[in-house]
């Protein structure tokens, strides 16, 4: 064919580490199904809670990283005037399920380089009655041209293709996915901010309303309004403020990995996991919990494979082998994940990070993972056409390990 450059299959492994930059003040603005407020309201309340949690003043915040889909026509800059903050570092990260990891990576380097001292990383979105349908129609050029006119099933249809292909290729069953959903619901029952409050049985999961086969009701998240946030600052500042903190051992990020795969069965983590673990000085067996980005249970299974916990295609066997609740052999989504906590737009990209920080600073709202030292938060998303373009992950640890 022609001059097409081959994708780079490995990272250089020369990234700097994250010593002396830490994460504090994990907060949640409780989710509601529908709100008449704009996204700005949720951003503002996230900021207020960050200040309360950290005992800082608004003037102490000199960096802002914002992940949101429903701010239009504003972007992050509009919020500076709206909220009355003056910052010397600003980022707008509308990357859905990956915005938490991506915002984290930017903010860490900013503080490390001295470009900012305290960066607020906020994921927030509102949800009006018609928000979801409107956002689907204008999500991306490719979605508008080549996906939405085909049944308008939204991501449910896109992931139905993927789930069906994965099941056929690797022998996953609906019971395998159901196990993930049931376990996450169990975890959610211990989390006060979860949207879902009732136990879910496997029978209910299997017999639920058909959305786009094989996807049924409990494979889908519930879109809602809310916010998640944390602060990034130097270790010295955190200790001076007396704030408990979590450490970042390693991160990775990759966009449009494997563009020639006919359909998505793997994400960019395959390219980055070796560097991720070696930079952290860890192996998969060292990880105590995984906060996957669970827009659909098949993606949790794929992330488990791609992050090295088992081989590609062995996801079903892995799930069958383990118990996935907070007290189990392989805890996944300890606050319920977005499948049970709800998907508040871009806040869902922060959900795993915020829960990880809580688990690793003993500031749990959900049930505690016993003796948790290391956790992985995963980012994924942005199905602009037929596959999630973004992938990312962060390995976090306790302060004193």
């Amino acid at each position: 064919m022609g001059a097409v450059s081959e994708p780079r299959l490995t990272t250089s492994g020369n990234s700097r580490d994250y010593r002396d930059v830490v994460l504090v003040a994990p907060i949640t603005v409780p989710y509601v199904r529908y709100s008449i407020r704009s996204a700005h309201w949720f951003v503002a309340h996230a900021l207020a809670r960050l200040l309360k949690e950290s005992n800082l003043n608004k003037a102490d915040i000199d960096g802002l990283s914002l992940g949101s889909f429903t701010l239009a026509p504003d972007t992050a800059i509009g919020l500076t005037q709206h909220l009355g903050i003056t910052v010397r570092w600003l980022d707008h990260v509308p990357l859905g399920g990956a915005c938490g990891i991506v915002a984290l990576r930017r903010a860490l380097r900013a503080v490390q380089a001295g470009d900012a001292e305290v960066v607020a990383c906020i994921g927030a979105d509102t949800n009006h009655v018609d928000s979801f349908r409107q956002s689907l129609g204008s999500f991306s050029v490719f979605a508008r041209d080549a996906v939405f006119p085909y049944g308008s099933g939204g991501p449910n249809a896109s992931f139905a293709f993927l789930t069906s292909y994965y099941m056929r290729t690797f022998g996953a069953t609906r019971e395998d996915f159901g196990k993930i959903c049931v376990a996450q619901r169990d975890n959610a029952l211990g989390y006060p901010h979860a949207m879902f409050k009732k136990r879910l049985t496997l029978e209910e999961y299997l017999g639920a309303r058909l959305i786009a086969d094989p996807i049924r009701l409990f494979d889908c998240v519930m879109p809602c309004a809310g916010a998640e946030a944390f602060l990034v600052m130097t270790r010295q500042r955190a200790e001076a403020l007396g704030l408990p903190y979590a450490i970042v051992r390693a991160t990775c990020e990759r966009h449009n990995a494997f563009p020639d795969d006919p359909i998505q069965i793997r994400g960019g983590w395959v390219l980055d996991r070796d560097h991720l673990y070696s930079a952290a000085g860890l192996e998969p067996a060292d990880i105590d919990f995984v906060e996957t980005y669970d827009d659909y249970p098949v993606m949790s299974m794929i992330q488990i494979e791609d992050l090295g916990f088992c081989e590609k295609g062995e996801g079903p066997a892995f799930i069958r082998r383990h118990s996935l609740t907070t007290d189990g052999t392989f805890p996944i989504n300890t606050s319920g994940g977005q499948l049970s906590a709800g998907q508040a737009g871009c806040a869902a990209g922060f959900l795993g990070l915020v829960e990880s920080i809580r688990q690793l600073t003993d500031r749990n709202l959900a049930r505690r993972v016993p003796e948790a030292r290391f956790g992985i938060a995963v980012g994924f998303g942005m199905i602009t056409y037929d596959r999630g373009l973004c992938s990312g992950a962060a390995i976090l640890s306790r302060a004193a390990v």
């Binding site: 006119p149 085909y150 139905a160 037929d386």
Partner: protein, 414 residues
């Protein structure tokens, strides 16, 4: 096995008529290239002129080498069906009314993975399929996967029928069924399964050979209709407009004259009065009611066909005033198309070359027979395309015009 379409039951007159909705119609300019090709019945994708990579979804530059030299090229559409789903919950009101809706994901042999509407005759995954392009109900190009081999009742797939204008079980108005072309169109529609054909005719005292036999066919209902008479059009629209599913405007006045070859404007005015103003009268009286019936059950209002002429694109000076009247009709039909799209009714323009009739008597062959023209029109309805150029002369004119309109202008003016 695709169940064959059955004749629909009579409509319950006290029930409200379902109003037409449209599938999402927003497209980028690059993506409209797919629509433009589908309007002509072709499946085309962008191919990079530098490195040859086939692109999908449509875009501005090649995703391989960044070249902007992307050219739309016809595709065979062959590929492998790698995944399917059926949507039961849709975010869009049009699809909401029509779920469950079958979709597929196809890996084309030429490279891209495409999301498609799935014809019910396709074999389960994994299987070979042929992807084609159709115009959906909002008149935008979409891809559909078809089985490799013909299966019985292919056209009756309910999803495909949303995109086509099949005359089967429908009622059709042919505005002039008296001419040879009109009579051939009527017979073609009946052969294609139309339930009822209103045959419009003006000047009842003029007896034309073949017309009496046509009028005796069981599917035919004669309809006095004079497109030069607003009152006549209004009255007939009042009488039958609410039942017309397909309107074929075959009425025309054709004189073989230019400007200098005849003094006075009387004949040219007669051409404009039927060819242009006749279309306008019809559109005003029949358009709104057809638009409102575009989702009215299985035999909904679905298409409006204009018999134009290849001379609408480039004036043929020895038939100069006729050409001009057809050019005016072409422009107006584009206005009509925009207005009818809002209801999901397809406007189909037919651009034949010279027809083998009395006004083209002195022209040498090749000339289009009325039967060939009628067949092309029926096929256009079955395929749901927008513009057809039937016959060798029309095809050649089109190729020359597309390459260089100014050169063609010179070639036809002696």
């Amino acid at each position: 096995m695709i169940p064959p379409l059955l004749r629909p039951k009579r409509k319950n007159p006290i029930l409200r008529t379902r109003l037409p909705l449209l599938p999402p119609s927003s497209r980028s300019r690059a993506a409209l290239g797919l629509t433009a090709a589908a309007a002509l019945g072709r499946f085309e994708l962008q191919v990079c002129g530098s490195c040859g990579i086939v692109q999908y979804p449509p875009r501005e530059v090649c995703h391989g080498c960044l070249s902007g030299a992307l050219h739309w090229r016809e595709q065979s559409g062959s590929g492998e069906l790698i995944s399917t789903t059926t949507v039961h919950l849709s975010q869009d009101p049009y699809f909401r009314e029509r779920v469950p809706w079958r979709l597929g994901m196809v890996r084309l042999d030429v490279g891209p993975t495409v999301i498609v509407h799935l014809h019910v005759g396709c074999a389960p995954v994994p299987s070979r399929v042929r992807v084609g392009a159709c115009l959906d109900k909002s008149g935008q190009g979409v891809l559909m996967a078809f089985p490799i081999d013909e299966v019985p009742n292919m056209a009756d797939d309910t999803q495909l029928r949303e995109m086509t204008c099949d005359p089967k079980f429908r009622k059709v108005l042919v505005t002039d069924g008296k001419t040879d072309v009109g009579q051939a169109i009527v017979r073609g529609l009946i052969a294609a399964g139309a339930d009822l054909v209103w045959v419009g005719y003006a000047e009842p005292w003029k007896k034309i050979p073949g017309f009496a036999a046509l009028a005796a066919l069981p599917q035919v209902a004669l309809l006095p209709l004079d497109l030069s008479d607003s009152r006549s059009v209004k009255e007939m629209a009042g009488e039958i407009g609410g039942k017309v599913d397909i309107l074929i405007n075959s009425a025309e006045v054709h004189r073989a004259q230019g400007i200098a070859s005849r003094s006075g404007i009387e004949a040219a005015r007669a051409e404009m009065d039927i060819n242009y103003f006749g279309l306008l009268r019809l559109a005003q009286e029949f358009g709104p009611v057809m638009r409102s019936r575009a989702a009215d059950g299985q035999s909904s209002a679905t298409a409006w066909v204009n018999l134009l002429s290849i001379y609408a694109l480039c004036n043929y000076p020895s038939h100069g005033t006729f050409s001009a009247s057809k050019a005016a009709a072409l422009s107006l039909s584009q206005c009509l198309r925009a207005e009818m799209r809002a209801g999901g009714v397809r406007v189909i323009n037919v651009f034949p070359g010279p027809i083998d009739d009395e006004w083209n008597q002195t022209l040498p062959p090749p000339k289009l027979t009325p039967e060939a023209l009628a067949k092309a029109i029926v096929n256009a309805l079955k395929d749901g395309v927008e513009d057809i150029y039937p016959g060798d002369v029309a095809q050649e004119w089109l190729a020359r015009w597309e390459e260089s309109p100014k050169t063609l202008e010179r070639e036809v003016s002696v």
